[in-house]
Amino acid sequence: MRLMHKTLAALCLLSLLFPIMASAQIPYDTFFVDSRHGRMSVIQPIYVPKKIIDGNRMDMPLSSPSDLFIAPDGKVYIVDTNNNRIVELDAEGNFLRSIGDAEGSGRLNRPEGVFVDEDGMIYVANTGDRTVVTFGSDGNPISVYGKPESNLLYDDYFFQPSKLVVDRRGIMYIVVKDTYQGLFRMNQAGEFTGFFGANKAKLTYLDRLKRMILSREQLEREVAIRPNAVANVTISDDGFLFVTSSGNKSDGQIRKLNAGGVDAFQNLKYDENLVDLAVDSQGFLYTISRRFGEVGIYDPTGTPMIYFGMGSTTARQQGVVSYPTSIAVSGTNEVWVVDGAQNVVHVFERTSFGETFLKANELFFKGEYEASKPHWEEVAAQNGMMDIAFTGLGKHAFYEGDYDTALALFLEARDPDGYSDAFWYVRYEWIRRYFSWVFFGAIFAIWGVYLLLRRRKFVLSGRTWHPLLMRTGSELRDAIYVMFHPYDGFYRLKERRISWFAVIFIVAAAVAVNLYSIFGSSIIVYPYNLAWVNIPLSIGTLLVPWITWALANYLVSTVKGGEGRFREVVQGSTFAMVPYIVLMVPATWLSNLIVTEEWVVYDLLTQVMWVWIAFLFFVMTQVTHNFDFGETIKNIVITAFTIAIIWIFLAIIIALSINLYDFLIQIYREVTLVA
């Protein structure tokens, strides 16, 4: 089941339906994202504002800071762009020194990016001078890298480094401003070693059409379709490069690239306003976005879990950013966010619930289900609304071998994958235990049915039945007959008057089977909360096409010279639905016995059912109206068109009626108010 990625705003709407009455404790809400079901709910805070680092603690206040890096030893490096320097702070935020403001080769000019490697060497993307400058851990400049000479780069390639990271081999991956070729790779000697990880441009259908149709000259005059430019890059402890891009010209706003440049997140679509990304020691991703100024926490597979934080142009509270430019995570899991407009750094710390929740997720993703159990239990105790806690506990129970508990937990969490896995084992156990009973029981059942069938005629004919019942019984028998002998069956239906009771009975049975298929199916088929099923809608989806089909078919066929009368069409359409009743019941029942891997069986059964139904409708049209093969096809196409027309017509009528009704109500209101 593919995870859904809806926009944050649309999901906001869901949570907005029920506003929070509690007084404002911190200035922003924290949301938990249930990607599987597309829901967002408000939860207690995971991160709370701890402190603000403002210019008062430094010799000179920050001015438009644009990047932040936290070294493994806890020291914090802030790129103070308009002050042309790098500010170094300790883990508490106390000012240590400035780097890059001394005269000489190390003089910086509007730097925008910084990276510090394990040896303490400081790499600065000196954007104003279009160079990369390196400093030793003592703060003295070591080398200056300008644009490399390379015949792979065209002459007017504008090398303006903005952000950079350095991998363990010392290769620099530089984000060059506003280029589409991806990251610029440069080795320690300052040589260009290729581009890396460009975004893929997105083609719309219109673009593809243009490519097919337009000539070369015309295409050249079209605006070039470009992907998003890379905005930022981060390197994780295990060497993966996380590239952040903003914009909507391509997907893959977050890409996790390995050494070969392959995106582990497979170019998935993310938030278009992402600015920066940070990775903690466990592989969880922390993003900062300019959409609402929110920080997003994603699990190591790139699925959003948590959103918190708020932005405002008139920001004046702790935890509210104005123009975020960078994010970093410290070794103690503090989140540091740089605000380029307020010239401050917001520091957030985890709450105890946040610690419990993220620890549980950490252990879960590492596969340490046993260790994660107490944490998940704590999460479930502190917040009963989070399904993921039950998934976690379910996984643990599963690996403990307690499959029944696991099954119940996965059901509670509405997790079809986990449910399927646990179910396999439960079923296996059950078969092992009861196999002999089932085997002999089946033999008895078959023998009993055989006896019953043999005695059927004897039993049935020996009694006098109510004539209505006899009639309905024979009609239903014919319905089954039609299913297996369509041509013959429909031919026999001609000129017959099937009782309305039988017709209604079949329709009601179809509705009942439809409801049964929704409510009786396994969670693997239907993983959503059953309370959200819109019963009238689902019955409508079944009945409305059927009714319009019957109507349209009759109308078209009479015009086209068919022989069938309306009653015959209705009868035939009803009988054509019988495979739905006959096959859906065992299919639904079967779905409760299979696991995800055996899905194909259920799928096949339902596909066969729909094909059968379609075939029966075809045959019904052909036989009832006495068309030949070609005519039938033509008339079915016209019928489909007619159905569309009917629906459009109905939609217009309903809309106009609503308007008329509204108009009358308004007049009534005006009259009573004014009078």
Binding site: Q342, A381, V533
Partner: protein, 753 residues
């Protein structure tokens, strides 16, 4: 028989038909105009009072005794002397007990050292700042007492002086009166004194913007603003260069003015109209007595408009808003509302010194004001056990199967069991609020009856209440008096909803850009005209009284929501709404004996028996350095109040300590079943509420609070910070509650038994 009545002739048939139509339509009209709601008189509620402060006529004031250089004596009483400087109309008040002189503006020698220039320098020397608009232009023009176009004249009045400012060119004039009281100085701007022409209109008047202002760090002290429980802005804090001043409306923005956007960060609205400052061992507490419903409290630390830390009340006379051009586009035109706010303005500056010159003294001054005016209930009686407040959620309606269904989380029988278990566990005097009992199962509703059968219905409710009476437990039922959901209300949006300033009915709206105001209700909600909503309340109160319920808890409305109605047929100002709400609370208390409110804005304190969600949290504002329990000090001992429910705290231990430090009573919001039952209901945000999970912690917390139950009825006389993370609250009888946030412990020492 019918064939006989129906005539055969064509004309007669027509006649019968016509008569029938006329009768039907007129009876329909008559029925629709029938008043279905009882009149307000039945509830002993009158109309909002319209008082008007007088403008005096009299002889021109002539300077008498000389005071400080440039100033002449204008009035004198036992404790204070008022001086007036006739040229710029500055004033000064001498505190005769200690000889300290409070100036309305810095002395001329200090002004000479100022680095600001132009209008800002002029404002610094003026006892008022006026903003006015000209014609259709939305831009505001500032003026002050140094404006050459202004003419001022003075009249001596009893205990004070009246200054009349007029701008002949603008045909604009207003009057400010300064009157000495036994606590200090009153500044009055009577509405009758404001005259305007057709062209120029008053927008805001900011009286005494620099009263007692402190320059830089010349003295120790702070500005006090009513942020949450109370906030201090210290003079000596180093601030970043680009700070903003604190300028927020009292009681928050009026929803009818369409100012709040959805994507604004959350902050605490101001719940009480007091501000003040301290300088050395002198201080004042300024209480906005009149005109507080359309006023901002503005605190400007040094470096924003001058080198002075100053604060004052800024009175709004006109609103600017966006007028929709058409109902199709979202385009708006900025307009100034034509009519002026008709309100008298009165601020009393209570001058304090010595021991009283800190926020505790200010709170005591405010408390004595509340007592004098009868805005506080009677003192609480001492208790044998600390009260424990519980909200029990019965359940809620959630969307199900294409329709809606009520999901039960607690039945009345289970609620009884819950209470019994707690009492057996040692809990003392319980007070219960029942939530989710309404028939519709929603919050913003007035479809109350019959009581939700999912909880047990009316019969079970009656049994529950009777058994609670036997145990001595008060039971409140919750109601919402503010926003209403149109699908779950008997009121009609167009006929009964209040109108916002752009003359459309006020609806909760959602829009992606902040200009499309999203208001604190959920989408589509509207606010019912308070007079009509109160009339419908009679049905609720009568029915609940019959069942035996002890009181009503207003979770939204009186106590936290204040709005005005721009409906031309029935105009209401925020003051009128406050009056109606106060009258409703009085009625409920008279009829049922108990009423409780949410939040507790100052006008709603009088009749409240309990306040839920009292403002104890700050707004995390960057400009405010310390949070202090000003409002709790003013109110403790008169009304019990709670913080957010214990099971929904952000940090359990730290928030518990905060509740203890600020004198709150323990409060939990519970369900009998798992809180998962509340998913997709209106109580969706109650993420952890299962009684079984919380029982032990509730009893544990109750024991902690019970340890100092002797302070429940007492006033707080002192509060201070002993060291980093250690605070001590002192009560009337000397009991000290010391709270240590570092060790997460608290101690109760001393005092009487």
């Amino acid at each position: 028989m019918l064939k006989r009545i129906w005539p055969a002739s064509y004309q007669l048939r027509l006649l019968y038909l016509a008569v029938f139509v006329i009768v039907m339509s007129s009876s329909l009209l008559w029925i629709s105009r029938l008043e279905k709601l009882p009149p307000l008189d039945e509830m002993r509620i009158g109309s909002p009072p319209q008082s008007s402060l007088p403008v005096y006529e009299g002889e021109e004031w002539s300077p008498g005794t000389v005071g400080p250089p440039g100033f002449y004596e204008a009035a004198d009483n036992e404790l204070f002397t008022l001086f007036l400087e006739p040229e710029k109309s500055q004033i000064a008040v001498l505190n005769k007990r200690n000889g300290y002189l409070w100036r309305s503006n810095p002395a001329p020698e200090d002004v000479a050292e100022e680095t600001v220039a132009g209008t800002q320098l002029e404002n610094l020397q003026s006892p008022y700042i006026l903003e006015y608009t000209s014609g259709k232009n939305v831009r505001r023009i500032q003026s002050n007492a140094l404006d050459p176009k202004m003419r001022v004249s003075y009249i001596g009045i009893e205990n004070g002086v009246q200054a009349s400012y007029s701008y002949p060119d603008l045909s604009l004039s207003f009057v400010i009166q300064y009157v000495l009281t036994k606590h200090g100085l009153e500044v009055i701007i009577p509405d009758a004194g404001i005259q305007e022409g057709a062209e120029h209109r008053v927008f805001t008047i900011n009286p005494l913007p620099f009263f007692g202002a402190v320059s830089g760090t010349e003295e120790e002290g702070y500005l006090f603003v009513p942020d949450g429980p109370g906030g201090l802005i210290h003079y000596d804090t180093l601030r970043p260069a680009n700070i903003r001043g604190y300028d927020f409306p009292i009681y928050g923005n009026d929803p009818a003015h369409l100012k709040d956007g959805f994507f604004d960060p959350k902050r605490e609205a101001i719940s009480y109209p007091v501000f003040g400052l301290t300088r050395g061992d002198q201080a004042y507490a300024a209480i906005v007595k009149e005109g507080k419903y359309s006023a901002n409290i503005r605190a400007l630390p040094s470096g924003i408009v001058s080198s002075y830390h100053s604060l004052s009340a800024n009175f709004t006379y006109r609103e600017e808003y966006g007028r929709r051009v058409s109902s199709i586009t979202a385009q708006k035109v900025r307009t100034i509302y034509e009519e002026r706010v008709r309100a008298d303005r009165l601020i009393e500056y209570r001058l304090l010194s010595g021991e009283e010159a800190d926020y505790v003294g200010m709170a005591a001054a405010y408390r004595s004001y509340l007592e004098e005016e009868g805005m506080l209930p009677n003192r609480l009686e001492p208790v044998e056990r600390m009260p424990l407040l519980l909200s029990i959620i019965g359940g809620g309606t959630k969307p199900k199967f294409g329709g809606v269904l009520y999901e039960t989380a607690t039945t009345f029988a289970q609620a009884k069991d819950l209470v019994q278990q707690l009492m057996d566990g040692g809990a003392g005097q319980l007070r219960i609020i029942i939530q989710g009992w309404q028939n519709s199962g929603r919050k913003d509703t007035d479809q109350w009856f019959p009581i939700q059968s999912g909880m047990g219905g009316e019969r079970a409710a009656g049994e529950f209440v009777t058994s609670m009476d036997a145990l001595g437990v008060d039971v409140y039922f919750e109601d919402f008096m503010g926003w209403r959901d149109p699908e779950y209300t008997d009121f009609s949006i167009k006929a009964d909803g209040i109108q916002s300033i752009d003359s459309t009915v006020l609806r909760g709206r959602f829009g992606m850009d902040n200009n499309f105001a999203m208001l604190t209700g959920s989408t589509g909600d509207f606010i019912v005209n308070p007079a009509k909503a109160i009339r419908k309340q009679k049905q609720l109160i009568d029915t609940l009284k019959n069942i035996g319920v002890d009181g009503v808890h207003y979770a939204d409305g009186p106590g936290n929501l204040l709005f005005s109605d721009y409906n031309d047929a029935a105009r209401l100002s925020r003051g009128d709404t406050a009056f109606y709400y106060e009258s409703l609370l009085r009625y409920v208390q008279e009829e049922m004996g108990n009423v409780s409110i949410q939040r507790g804005n100052d006008y709603s304190l009088r009749y409240a028996d309990v306040i839920i969600g009292f403002p104890l949290e700050p707004s995390y504002d960057l400009v405010i350095d310390t949070t202090v329990p000003f409002y709790p000090i003013a109110v403790h001992g008169y009304v019990p109040y709670t913080a957010t429910p214990g099971n929904l705290r952000v940090d359990y231990e730290l928030d518990l300590l905060k509740s203890i430090e600020y004198g709150a009573v323990p409060y939990f919001q519970l369900t009998y079943a798992d809180s998962r039952k509340l998913m997709d209901t209106d109580y969706d945000d109650i993420y952890s509420s299962e009684f079984g999970v919380w029982k032990d912690r509730i009893l544990e917390e109750f024991e902690k609070f019970d340890a100092f139950r002797q302070v429940y009825h007492q006033r707080i006389v002192d509060h201070e910070q002993l060291s980093d993370g250690v605070f001590v609250t002192t009560y009337e009888d000397g009991t000290k509650v010391t709270v240590n946030y570092n060790t997460k412990q608290f101690q109760v020492t001393g005092g009487g038994a």
